[in-house]
Symmetry: C2
Subunit: 114 residues, 2 copies
């Protein structure tokens, strides 16, 4: 059970950190190199690198290397997928799990008015 949302939860978790959410926000206007991100945050360089690697692992960002520098930018495809996954959670549909759930007997009938 709850298998369907493992991927959704993993992607959300990748974003569910103040530093990583900030990074995504900063990158939303275009690519930025690590050294500039580093100067903005108060965290150490390895910590920032770690956060970037998590975002990269979940394909939320892509990295372009140019000489010594690394430029990071938002991966729009994954961002769109995230949006779709959120709709999957919140927008009720015919395939919703609730239909199975509601057939299970509880001791009281469920109200349908909510």
């Amino acid at each position: 059970m709850s298998v369907d949302f493992i991927h959704t939860a993993a992607l959300l978790k990748a974003l569910a950190d103040p530093v990583r959410a900030s990074i995504m926000h900063i990158l939303s206007c275009g690519e930025v190199c690590v050294c500039q991100l580093h100067q903005y945050f108060t965290i150490s360089q390895p910590t920032l690198s770690h956060h970037l690697s998590i975002l990269r692992k979940h394909k939320l960002i892509t990295t372009r290397k140019e000489g010594k520098w690394s430029y990071h930018s938002v991966n729009a495809t994954t961002v769109k997928e995230l949006s779709r996954l959120l709709d999957e959670i919140f927008i009720p549909g015919s395939e919703c799990l609730c239909h199975t759930i509601r057939q299970v007997e509880c001791s009281l009938p469920l109200r349908q008015d909510a």
Copy 2:
């Protein structure tokens, strides 16, 4: 820094769990009582109760008690706020942090084409 996204990250983290995402999905069609949720998942009753309390703490759900039973439903206000917070991350705007970031000197000029 990155203070602005602390609340956003906390709300995302509340949702960033397979069980909790599933609960939100099931609740999206209307209120359901705990005993029915419990029969769906393979986790223990205290664990489910714990997940529900996290969702409640972050106002993602509301609880209505009726006799011995607890009925849970989605708090649409918070879901809308979550959507707004995600837009705040991903939709570039004039107040974006990147404008401050980009003024910091890196050793190379930044490209604006990404």
